[in-house]
């Protein structure tokens, strides 16, 4: 166990270093314009630009620049090239919205994903199974941002009704009721694709597990079907779903819900990343990427531990 944690921690740190280095190299190899010119503004003299280039260290070798950037990131003093705002503070400001969106949507998609998968597996081949399969398929095939635009139009902007609020995030501490009300549409939109995907995966898993000998034994000794489903089939079938959920949830927490955040104007971490990318602003992109990768790396360790707990045949590696 201790060896596992040590090995994974070292691996995680290596991956994070590699990720930041990779992002850095993208911005060195791919010419995106000179950052010094952007900082200097429109009416800068060549001498101004030269000074800025020197002050910000853009004339140093790239490994020195990389080291300086990582140093600033670690001390929390990294600032954006364009707006000169502190990157770490900006990410912290976006976190409440991103966390509210992710946790709510995560609960919804996990619950309904499992529900959909189990119902369609129980009724395999019947009409309800077919209907659910079709709906799940449409769910995974929807472009999420388009679904967001369309639901906003029909449910918030008067296409059918203006009942729901039109985007924006209300902090939980300001007004819990409005917080909830404002997040209903983003939660649903973000969850739809995942529900469809999880439902399809779980349906296949449950059907596969139902063919196992131990399930037949359970049936033969007269256990009630509900108990067999809960204690025997689901226990095994849910394991891949846990893995999926851990990684997807980490992705969304880490700013991966860029599209939902942008469409509903939630001012979360993802939207911050999208804006910075449009400005070709390296420090925020670096910050958000590292922040996102951190969640993915940490959650993948959690997932492996949980995996070993749920299925004792598997040892964490």
């Amino acid at each position: 166990m201790a060896a596992f944690l040590v090995r994974r921690t070292i691996g995680a740190i290596l991956v994070l270093v590699a990720v930041t280095f990779f992002v850095f190299v993208i911005f060195i190899v791919v010419p995106g314009g000179d950052p010094a010119e952007r900082i200097a503004g429109k009416n800068a003299t060549p001498q101004n630009i030269e000074n800025i280039r020197h002050d910000w260290g853009f004339d140093r070798p790239f490994y020195v620049q990389y080291y300086k950037m990582m140093e600033k990131m670690a001390t929390g003093s990294l600032v954006s090239y364009t707006s000169q705002q502190n990157v770490v503070q900006q990410i912290e400001q976006g976190m409440p919205a991103t966390f509210s969106l992710s946790i709510g949507a995560g609960v919804i998609w996990l619950f309904f994903g499992i529900l959909v998968g189990v119902i369609s597996a129980i009724s395999a081949g019947k009409f309800s199974d077919r209907a659910i399969t079709v709906l799940a398929l449409v769910g995974v095939s929807l472009p999420i941002f388009w679904l967001g635009i369309v639901t906003r139009y029909y449910l918030a902007e008067g296409g059918l009704t203006s009942f729901f609020p039109d985007g924006e995030y209300v902090p939980l501490t300001d007004n819990p009721a409005q917080w909830f009300f404002h997040l209903i549409l983003p939660w649903t939109v973000l969850a739809v694709g995942f529900i469809g995907f999880y439902g399809r995966v779980l349906r296949g898993n449950v059907l596969d597990t139902s063919n196992e000998d131990y399930v037949r034994t359970a049936k033969a000794k007269g256990l009630p079907p509900k108990r067999i489903m809960r204690k025997h089939i689901l226990r095994l079938s849910l394991i891949p779903i846990i893995t999926l959920f851990g990684l997807d949830f980490a992705g969304v927490l880490g700013g991966g819900a860029i599209l939902t955040e942008t469409v509903f104007d939630l001012h979360g971490v993802g939207q911050y990343a999208a804006q910075s990318i449009n400005n070709f602003d390296l420090p925020p992109i670096m910050g958000v990427t590292l922040y996102g990768a951190m969640f993915i790396v940490v959650f993948s360790v959690f997932v492996d531990l949980l995996y070993a707990y749920l299925d004792p045949r598997i040892r964490p590696t």
Partner: protein
């Protein structure tokens, strides 16, 4: 205790006698591909959706014909100051904004004329007076091109990497799997927009490759690159288990070159998975292309694609919802078609699928 064979009882001997009486019918060997094809042929739903996909492709390929002979305009041609005859009346393509009935209104393009406009502006015009239906078909060409070509590139590299990693093992395998791990640690969409928007500014000019900014090859390469790990990792697992099989050992013992083992022995055995991945990745790529274009990191204006069209229509959604609805519906239809056909293909190619269908 041996049973006595009595008259009228069916024994192996009687079976042999009966078989000898029947005309000999040749037992033909069937390749796994033929068996898969036979299973697929019975799956009418999958075939229907394959037909739908082909229909969409053909319609988009015929975009220039539609544009020239029906709509009489091009995908990027603007008609801001022109009028169009709808039901015999002249209607401005884009109504002039300004003060109307004492209220300040902005310029609004014409809505869908359906069949009353004589083929012009069937789905209306966008904010700068371009024919939405024409752009929809041209946009389909772009989106389908990016989807299919990037899927080809992505599966090609994923297969090569998976074969190399699993065949050589050791350091090669270590490097390639670490590369996959690294790609998994990135949120796909974040990496996509980072690369896409970076390349959109100046294009790519390294290592003898010259791609101008605004070229649709940029989103094609970006999309194929970010998904390589997601195809490569599962394929590597499959090749790795095949690598241990006796037929590979036998082939190496006979002196087969690494190239031969990888591409003649191993590749055909993973070909069915590759085919399924290829189909399903096209669907993913079309979704990814639309998302990147929506965020401004994919296809660059004025080139039409379904994603850019949705983004263009977003500002006018309240007055002219069809600007965004139409390309979205096209994406959903295409992606659903590919997903259903891909599932059918997997059921047909995967022998385990038989168990599932019988249930």
């Amino acid at each position: 205790m041996a049973q006595q064979a009595t008259e009228g009882e069916f024994t192996l001997d009687t079976a042999a006698v009966l078989a000898a009486g029947e005309p000999a019918s040749a037992i033909r060997g069937r390749s796994p591909w033929y068996l898969a094809w036979r299973r697929l042929r019975r799956n009418y739903v999958a075939f229907f959706f394959l037909g739908l996909f082909i229909l969409i492709c053909v319609a988009c390929l015929l975009a220039p014909v539609y544009a020239k002979h029906v709509a009489g305009t091009g995908p990027n041609q603007q008609h801001v100051l022109e009028n169009v005859r709808v039901n015999g009346k002249l209607v401005p393509v884009v109504s002039s904004g300004g003060i109307v009935n004492g209220k300040l209104t902005s310029a609004i393009p014409i809505g869908p004329t359906w069949f009353s406009g004589g083929g012009k502006f069937v789905l209306g015009a966008d904010a700068i007076g371009r024919d939405v239906a024409v752009r929809l078909l041209y946009g389909g060409r772009t989106s389908l091109f990016i989807g299919i070509v990037s899927s080809l590139i992505c599966t090609f590299f994923a297969v090569i990497l998976a074969l190399l990693a699993a065949y050589y093992g050791g350091w090669g395998d270590f490097t390639i799997t670490r590369f996959f791990d690294l790609m998994y640690a990135f949120p796909v969409i974040l990496l996509g927009i980072a690369l896409g928007s970076a390349l959109a500014i100046n294009g790519f000019h390294h290592w003898g490759i010259n791609i101008q900014s605004g070229s649709i090859w940029i989103p094609t390469f970006v999309i194929s690159y970010v998904l390589v790990a997601y195809v490569g990792r599962p394929l590597r697992g499959q090749v790795l288990s095949l690598r241990q099989k006796e037929f590979i050992e036998a082939s190496i013992a006979q002196g087969a070159s690494p190239f031969r083992v990888m591409f003649i022995e191993l590749l055909p055995n993973i070909m069915s998975s590759v085919l399924v991945f290829f189909t399903l990745i096209i669907a993913t790529n079309i979704l990814l292309e639309s998302a990147l274009s929506f965020l401004g990191a994919g296809v660059q204006p004025p080139t039409a694609s379904w994603g850019t069209q949705i983004a263009d229509g977003q500002d006018l959604i309240v007055t002219r919802p069809w600007l965004s609805l139409a390309p979205g519906i096209m994406i959903v239809l295409t992606v659903v078609a590919l997903n259903v056909f891909g599932d059918g293909l997997r059921d047909a190619l995967d022998p385990r699928a038989k168990v599932r269908i019988q249930r």
